[in-house]
């Protein structure tokens, strides 16, 4: 299978797995959050429930002047239960039946409690009203009785008020008995008490009646409220929640495992990708190393081939030099060797004369010399000599010898020039007479220059300059060669030297074909050549340029088509050591 297919499958699985895990996570509730929230809510409900109990008691014993707090707490409890139901027991909430049942129970309990509270409130209000007005009515009846000097009545009223309050507020059963005993006495008093107090007496009686009735009812409701089972219902719900959460944790841990599995799956993918990347990098590193090696090799080859080209240019100019010099040397060599042969032949004739002299000397040394014989020998000798003179053998020998020694001096001059030209013994910059190099170059080029006129206008006060003579001679040779090749057979090459400031100037002028502006621009470029293929490497002038530059000098070209070319070489008298890099 292709790696790309594998990768696609892997990516598909990763995305599908991610979506699956996400979906599953969304179905499993977050235990911690729910637990916190539910606990908070249950605590609030429980607190409100307790508050209600307390507030009910406070209302019963007149600690709270009104029902505001009680009503608020009851409403809050309602709201809490409502929102709790909405949060967890709506359609999408918890579906655990036990929990739902438990909550429904709590809810109905609270509803019942609420009704009880309402009933309590109404009865308690009536009770409180009577509790408040009964003592006042009793007080006024007591004062009336006192005025009417009815002590018993006064006492009865007083004790009734006391007992009523004791019963109402403390619930004393002793008091109610007392009241029940006193009540018939109260009816008896109606007739004793003045007329105007009858309304008060009626009111008092009603209040007492109300207190007795309402106290019972109120207390009944109160106890019902206080004994409400909502507390236990809250506990039950709380426990239910704990159990439900516990059951949820199974799902939670499964989700956790699922998450771990998914992360492991992703990690494996990541590891694989990392591994692949590492391999890729290693491969790339290797590739880059190989490429670098290749580039380096190519560069080395280029450098080498440049060196080879420079060398071949040197060889080409050497070959040209050798060709010229060979002709120059072969000419005298030809006639010298021929002359030697001829002279040897002529010496054969002289040999006869020498032999004759020998014979004469032998004859003379005899005790009696034969003058006749000597005479005939001398005669023969003279004949030979005359023949030789007639043939001009002797003067010819003289001439041939003279020619030969001239030829030998020519050859030795030429060899000297070659030595001057190449100066292979010098590899460092030395003080050099530039004219010597120019002369040697001209001699070497003699064959190439042929009949072209060479005008030398040399500055006789030319100082020695520090340079590498062999290199400069190569420059001169290149320029002179080009001049000779650019001019007609009867052309002129003018070489001028002069001192200029801290340096010297050598000018090569010819009246040859000249060159275009383009040619002038390219003359020092490597491989630029106007010669036929095989006639020049195209490196001559570029090497000349390099050499002059390495001497800290300048080489310039001025040319006009049809008129000629001038090459100007400027060189400093002294070399700064750094500048003179060796051209190999």
């Amino acid at each position: 299978m292709k790696p790309s297919t594998l990768l696609l499958i892997y990516l598909f699985l990763a995305i599908a797995g991610g979506l699956g895990v996400f979906y599953y996570q969304s179905t499993v509730p977050d235990n911690k959050e729910i637990s916190n929230d539910v606990t908070q809510r249950l605590l609030t409900i429980d607190g409100l429930n307790s508050d209600i109990g307390e507030l009910v008691l406070r209302s019963r014993y007149n600690l709270d002047p009104n029902y505001d707090s009680l009503t608020r707490s009851a409403t809050l409890l309602d709201q809490s239960i409502e929102s709790f139901g909405e949060a967890y027991f709506s359609t999408e909430g918890v579906s655990d039946p036990m929990l739902v049942k438990s909550f429904e129970k709590l809810k109905s309990e609270v509803m019942i409690q609420r009704d009880l509270i309402e009933s309590f409130k109404s009865h308690n209000s009536v009770l409180r009203n009577s509790e408040k007005y009964a003592p006042a009515a009793g007080q006024s009846l007591m004062s009336i009785a006192k005025e009417a000097k009815l002590d018993d009545a006064e006492q009865l009223y007083g004790s009734l008020v006391r007992e009523l309050l004791a019963y109402s507020l403390l619930g004393s059963s002793f008091s109610i008995e007392k009241i029940k005993v006193a009540l018939p006495q109260l009816v008896e008093l109606e007739n004793k008490m003045p007329e105007f107090s009858r309304v008060s007496m009626f009111e008092f009686g009603r209040h007492i009646e109300t207190v007795i009735n309402e106290k019972e009812l109120t207390d009944q409701y109160l106890s019902k409220v206080l004994l409400s089972t909502s507390d236990s219902q809250i506990d039950e719900l709380s426990q239910g929640w704990s159990q439900w959460l516990l059951s949820n944790s199974g799902q939670q841990s499964f989700l956790k495992q699922l998450n771990i599995a998914y992360i492991s799956f992703l990690l494996v993918g990541l590891a694989f990708v990392t591994w692949r990347l590492r391999n890729l990098y290693q491969h790339l590193d290797h590739e880059v190393a190989v490429q670098t090696e290749e580039v380096k090799k190519a560069f080395d080859e280029l450098k080498e081939s440049e060196t080879k080209l420079v060398q071949s240019e040197k060889m080409a100019s050497l070959g040209q030099m050798v060709a010229g010099v060979a002709h120059e040397i072969n000419t005298p060599l030809g006639y010298i060797s021929s002359n030697v042969d001829t002279i040897r032949l002529n010496m054969g004739e002289l040999d006869g004369i020498l032999k004759s002299i020998d014979m004469i000397s032998v004859e003379i040394s005899e005790s009696k010399p034969n003058t006749k014989k000597i005479g005939s020998i001398v005669k023969r000798m003279v004949q030979v000599y005359r023949r030789m003179r007639q043939r001009e053998t002797l003067s010819e020998i003289e001439d041939l010898l003279k020619d030969s020694s001239y030829g030998l001096s020519e050859i030795s001059n030429l060899v000297g020039s070659l030595k001057d030209f190449s100066r292979l013994d010098r590899t460092n910059a030395v003080d050099t007479d530039i004219h010597k190099g120019l002369e040697a170059t001209l001699k070497i080029c003699k064959n190439l220059i042929g009949e072209r006129k060479v005008v030398k206008s040399f500055d006789h006060q030319m100082p020695l300059i520090e340079c590498m003579p062999a290199q400069l001679n190569q420059v001169f040779l290149n320029i002179v060669t080009n001049s000779a090749q650019a001019t007609d057979k009867d052309g002129t090459i003018k070489i001028t030297t002069k001192r200029v400031g801290k340096g010297i100037e050598i000018s090569f002028e010819d009246n040859g074909e000249g060159m275009s502006a383009n040619g002038m621009k390219q003359i020092f470029d490597p491989f630029y050549t106007t010669k036929d293929v095989g006639q020049g490497t195209g490196l001559g002038m570029s090497i000349a340029y390099k050499i002059v530059k390495s001497h800290g000098g300048e080489i310039k070209v001025k040319s006009e088509i049809g008129k000629g070319t001038q090459i100007l070489v400027q060189l400093p008298l002294q070399q700064s050591q750094a500048e003179l890099s060796v051209i190999k």
Partner: protein
């Protein structure tokens, strides 16, 4: 040659006349000293002098010229003398064998031999002598056009390269000559042996070596009438000189060659063959007619074999 000159020559023992041309007087002096015993030596320092001497003397037996001279190149002077005094044996002498000069001297001046400096007097003498034999036997004499027997001339192409066969066949057809295409030395010799009309041998060889030299020498020896042309892409002065001096090749060509170049050249070669054949026939005839003793006969035979 005019009768006056002949009588004059006979009067002074009739030494062969040799003209030396060189711009270096010492060479002239040296050569004259070496050769004057055997030949009547004339010297000229430049082409102008040489030309006027030739005109004045109405030709010489042999002209030996230096190649590099101020006013003219040696092969140019020799080409001039070929055109004007074709009987003269032309020898070129030079200190430096430059391929262009060699090629020109063979193809344009049709020189007899090429001598390199420094020269050997003995060799020089033997070359001059062999040239003089040619003159004396009339080999250099122009055969009159109407005399030329325009017999059949078969072309033999020794093609040592893989291509060019087609061009050669085509040119031969244009010349209405019979082309014989061979590709090795053995079959070349076989064709020459069997084809009586073989007149021109064209050798196309990019690797001229000892085998080529030997073949050319052998053919020149055995079939002196056959005109030999060598074409190569690797021009080399030394081998050109060797082919000329030992095999007397008619042309030394540097490829590439075109059909238009080849056509007149092969034609000229064929004309040369006709002339040589006519001369040989003439000489053979005169030899057979001569009844005045075996010594003369053997002399002719010697001359013919020499050629």
């Amino acid at each position: 040659m005019s009768k006056d000159l002949q009588t004059k020559n006979t009067a002074i023992k009739a030494l062969p006349e040799v003209l030396l041309v060189d711009d270096e007087p010492r060479i002239l002096r040296s050569m004259k000293a070496a050769l004057k015993k055997h030949y009547d030596i004339f010297t000229a320092h430049n082409a102008k002098e040489a030309k006027s001497l030739i005109k004045k003397n109405k030709g010489f037996s042999v002209i030996i010229s230096d190649e590099r001279m101020p006013d003219i190149l040696g092969h140019e002077l020799l080409a001039w003398s070929k055109d004007n005094y074709s009987k003269m044996i032309r020898i070129l002498m030079t200190g430096y064998s430059d391929i262009k000069a060699i090629q020109n001297s063979i193809n344009e001046a049709e020189i007899y031999k090429y001598i390199t400096k420094p020269w050997n007097v003995k060799e020089l003498k033997s070359i001059i002598d062999s040239g003089i034999v040619r003159v004396n036997t009339g080999m250099q004499v122009d055969v009159q056009k109407h005399d030329v027997n325009q017999a059949k001339c078969a072309l033999v192409f020794l093609n040592m390269v893989d291509h060019n066969d087609q061009i050669y066949t085509k040119v031969a057809k244009r010349l209405s000559m019979e082309p014989n295409m061979v590709h090795d030395i053995g079959s070349t010799l076989l064709v020459l042996e069997n084809n009586k009309h073989a007149g021109v041998l064209f050798i196309d060889d990019d690797h001229v070596n000892e085998d080529t030299f030997n073949l050319v020498m052998l053919i020149h020896d055995k079939y002196p009438k056959i005109v030999i042309i060598v074409a190569t892409s690797a021009a080399d002065g030394k081998s050109a000189i060797k082919l000329l001096n030992q095999g007397q090749i008619f042309r030394y060509l540097v490829k590439p060659l075109t059909e238009t170049k080849l056509f007149p050249m092969l034609n000229a070669a064929a004309q040369r063959f006709y002339k040589q054949t006519t001369r040989h026939d003439h000489l053979d005839g005169s030899m057979n007619n001569e009844t005045s003793g075996s010594s003369i006969k053997s002399y002719w035979r010697k001359i013919i074999s020499f050629l």
